[in-house]
Symmetry: D2
Subunit: 401 residues, 4 copies
């Protein structure tokens, strides 16, 4: 059983509390901190939490606090982590870990040096579909990974500080790209070094300073490509989709707008909350069965608390949060310089010196296989490359019946 | 915290144990019973269960047993329930409750008279999609329910006793129809009386005595129609789909083959379990993220244990299991008699004497509204019925631009 | 090149004219008849048709008329066909052929005796998806057909006469069921005799005399089942879906609401026609690329005119229209009698005396194969039936690693 | 009626002939040229073409040739076009127009100066879904276009010359990217100038010199972004998807792998051609109803021949082919230089000097509107920006019931 302290009484704090108290959980939130007292009281009431406070340090230091969950705006993450380090409390921090890699590395090292558990609350790397996809990839079901694209777009976040570039540290890249980058990184392999980033970003619609739309490519040392597509200008709800291409297969997941749940309503009945970021409450709607679960919160906290109890590193640690921040830093640099920017990773803990594998498929002793295809008229074509000369030839098996 | 005893060490027992011990659950299986000792030992080992036995009564009576979960073949349900009644242990029974309404009513009454909690483990009425659909319907999002179709088809069950009509008590109707009937009944309203049933059933493919394919219509007192489509001959995996039509909307859910998770594999990687009833391990596959959750086991046990702790009736009780059995009895009778057969419900606890509502939509003082449609050429047509004469007319608004 | 006369200037006449003049067609509509002169003039102008008239016989007899296309309400089909017989003009009649089998048989025989070509305009048996499905079934891709379900539901037709039971001859069964019945009949085999029908029908919502919702089962001599689901009360647009189960496979087609074309719009742009029977113009919409083509009109007229030119019977002839009417007659009878009603086919031209095949799959010399399944824990189970004793057994291959 | 000469007897030539002779077409192929006589003879036989030859000039100059359709490898396009110019025959050229912009501009100008009709056979800009999407966009249904992504990936082309970088002029970018670029360009607006391109390309799998996988971003003068994703390494069939984001909506189309047609087969029946680039013939398959139509060939030739007859420019002209080539040239340059490369368009015929529009949405006299969202607990949040100070604030409407 874990006794939890939540820092922050907003949107994400509520999602976390729903997950922590969900189903037949043995874990309980014992302390909640919020900046405004009325928020703290309302939150404590809603989730039957015995203690609330408007002092962050009091919350962290509270005797009932074993594990601290940080659900605060980005610019306060470091301060909160340092309080946990000071009071030697295990700490789980919402995404992104820092506003940049420098902040993230300081938090990571502070925890490591103090022997404090640091879990990175990257929920989208814990969705049921993600976990099963990752297992399939590890089992080799789709071969060597060539490309992993993750997309998160919606009509914009729900709190003022997200839109303030100082407090948030960035726009859609930092808010949404952190998910996409870590998803692709998992699929490609966490020990494969991200090398360089090319990113386009623009403020296309909203009256803000940060980017509201961005697309980035992350090149890994083994030749694989990670891609992120993020936007605060998407219309139609929240679009959460991943696509992975491997030499032997493909994975497509859709975690929100098309999950096998479709509803049409004329709107004459009572309205209400449809799902996160839904844009309409009539016509064809696409609800999600159990958002807390589908968005990964349940499996995420299970891994975190199990990891604490078993004394092991969680699937997503502060170090992972740091690598993500380093990639984001390169993305922001690239968006300005219009160049491929190197990923700066002074503290790299994975493999080094990989090269793109080139294992061609053999057709016979003299030829590499390129492909074969059955044509509409029944002819079969086989495309080969002569090993010696490099010449490309085709063999036709005509369907003469 | 609940201390659980599982009766039965097979397929469904494992699904239950996975759910009971899942995530950060505070509940634990303390005792397991299986007919064969080797099964009991393997099960106890796999789930770290301290006690196992090959005596059903010993399991039920065990001091560590607070709640009994029956995961046994249909023909042993009654015996097991009666042991729970004898030893005053709360009992949760897998579906279908009985092989027929007579058995089910005896179990229901025995529990009620002894004050023993009787929960009906109807998992498909607890899937996240189902629960959210049900809430939408209760909120009026799709108006008055006209028709609720539930479909469960797959290539057949995984244990010998299912295929033996004596032990199972029936074929696909009893095995799968029990889900579909209760799903439709929930959508239409549990207090609406099922009146009569028309059912077609046949043994189209398998070398068995029971039906391997059936379709049934269940008429409810308020004019709504429940439909079930069940089969052990379906090819392509397990097809779990519900469709509901209301006067103001539509709900479609797909709980298995199309949930937003798609994978193509050439099969060159390592194979393995894809998902329940999957028929192939190469080509396009449609895995399910977290089967235990998606099939409703998690929410089901949450409701059951919460209900026990709160001293309330669970969402699905033995009485519900009895009503389902009564509908199934009528379906089997109809399949033989080829007639609409009345549902025999000597113990009916819902509303009586309902009639089909006939609330027409008014267009103006003199006309009922039938419909309007925009045609491809831009014309608008409105179809009306004169209140007095009953004559049907159309008004055209030509698009003459 | 065909010179065409269209009888009827309404909704379906326009769809036909769009198809006839579509793409690079060599066929032309030369004559149009409509009851009201203004309709005839507008139609002639819209499609550049040289001749129009308000006399049906004048249209049929017109020297430029080679082929007559009947696009009239149901109660005038017979009169129109008889005019074509009188003037020896090839005739293509919209669906349903008659209001009942008696009318349909009279039309069929009148054409046959006069040597007049009679084509049945059953467009949904000509959609590209249908044609390809049918070919796959004929190639054996899904084995022996066990069940073929066709569903057409929408919020109701667009002209007054549909809602008048005298003129239409029926409600949703006649209007939509005629499609569904013929689709299933094609998949099961046109030479397989439909034997009996069970049908539920009700007027659940609309202020009309005819049924606005119905479900029917059609039993064929070889044990296959056709199912139709039709409604004028569906909310959400037009739902056109077919599902076929065979011993070796499954086919699912969706011809309207989910064809790989999805659009979200806030509605701030200009509105307009979305697609047939669409119910909203904002939120998530599901347009169809080329309705004329997707609904089968293009392939239908290609087959009809080619058949006329080649002197062969078209894929859908008046005789097919007659069989459909006979099944509908039985459906209406069943809806009233609540019994399975025999299909009355005094003129049956297909196979007679079929029986349900019972070809079991052999496992080894002593056993029939029932099924095998890989369980989540890696165990493999095989279910068999002993040929001699009939006993059902299971073989387990435990995954003990 | 058009009398057509096809140059080239391969895969694409057959698709063209199928479309040209399809349905009730009034157009006919009168002459076919192929390099090998046996190919020419077989092609002429298959399509009942009266004349065949192995001399390209003879084919073009043939008296029965009115319109020449070029279905040849990329490196022969210019030679073939010049023959048409010489003999003053209308010419329709397959995609891409040239191997680079220089070739394409020469062909464009040669046709224009000689008054010869030059149609660019960009079939994917003629699919029914594309045409309807384009109309919706022109009607303003999704507002100002922000991003248009087009994806074409499959396991590689079917003829040897594609894989030879000399003959093809490039790899997947030239082969597939030409489609994607022109699709996005149509959605964004053909008169909007493409300004610069960033492209990643690699040879990840195949033993070839050209790229087998590439991703590119095309920046347009008004700030819109076109994106292409192309690959010859995709596993699972042919993936053809477009996605468009506008300020007021979204369009998603899927033209191949998910079009509402799904089939499962155990493979025990007869096999055969499933669809272009299909990778398996068992398990879950996703056929396409009528490929010729769904891939746009039908509407494409309709537009081309109508344009010739009406003396107007077709929707896709040689000039469009030239712009596409110019963008591809920049993409190849960028893939090498790793820089955003300017699109070189010495002959630009659209708008000049556009700027990104910045029309913010007003909330009230003092505030710009950023967004509002309904939270799960019923609270409503509105995010605004103060016009004067630029400060971002939020207004909360708590759900205190």
């Amino acid at each position: 059983m874990a006794k939890v302290c939540i820092l922050g009484g907003g949107f994400i704090g509520r999602f976390y509390a729903d997950a922590l108290h969900g189903q037949r959980s043995r874990d309980r939130v014992e302390v909640v901190y919020a900046r405004k007292e009325e928020t703290a009281i309302r939150f404590a009431n809603d989730y039957s939490i015995p203690h609330y406070t408007t002092s962050m340090e009091e919350a962290v230091a509270h005797p009932e606090t074993e594990v601290v969950v940080i659900a605060l705006p980005n610019h306060i993450h470091e301060e909160a982590v340092m309080l946990c380090v000071k009071h030697k409390k295990a700490v789980l921090c919402t995404k992104p870990l820092g506003r940049n890699a420098e902040e993230a590395l300081r938090m990571t090292k502070a925890c490591e040096e103090a022997g404090v558990f640091g879990g990175y609350l990257e929920d989208l790397c814990y969705t049921p579909k993600f976990l099963k996809s990752l297992q399939s990839i590890k089992d080799g079901a789709i071969g060597r990974i060539l490309w992993a694209k993750s997309r998160e777009t919606h009509p914009g976040p729900h709190s003022d500080w997200f839109w303030n570039i100082e407090m948030a540290g960035g726009g859609a890249i930092l808010d949404l790209g952190c998910h996409c980058i870590e998803i692709a990184r998992n699929f490609i392999g966490k020990d494969i070094k991200p090398v360089e980033v090319m990113c386009w970003a623009d403020t296309q619609v909203k009256p803000i300073d940060a980017e509201d739309h961005a697309i980035g490519l992350v090149k890994y040392e083994n030749g694989a490509i990670g891609q992120f597509e993020v936007s605060w200008t998407f219309r139609g709800g929240m679009d959460l989709r991943d696509e992975v291409m491997g030499t032997e297969g493909t994975i497509w997941t859709n975690s929100f707008l098309r999950t096998g749940f479709e509803m049409f309503t004329t709107g004459k009945g009572e309205g209400g909350y449809v799902s996160e970021k839904a844009e309409s409450a009539t016509g064809w709607l696409f609800p999600v069965g159990d958002e807390t679960h589908e968005l990964g919160y349940t499996h995420m906290f299970t891994d975190m608390f199990n990891a604490i109890e078993e004394g092991r590193t969680p699937q997503e640690s502060f170090y992972d949060g740091y690598v993500v921040n380093a990639i984001i830093d390169a993305a922001y640099k690239s968006a300005k310089s219009k160049l491929w920017e190197p990923v700066q990773l002074p503290d790299w803990r994975g493999q080094e010196g990989l090269q793109k594998p080139s294992v061609y498929q053999e057709y016979d002793a003299d030829h590499w296989f390129i492909k074969e295809e059955l044509l509409p008229n029944g002819d079969l074509k086989i495309i080969l490359k002569k090993k010696e000369s490099g010449e490309i030839i085709e063999i036709e098996k005509l369907n003469l019946k």
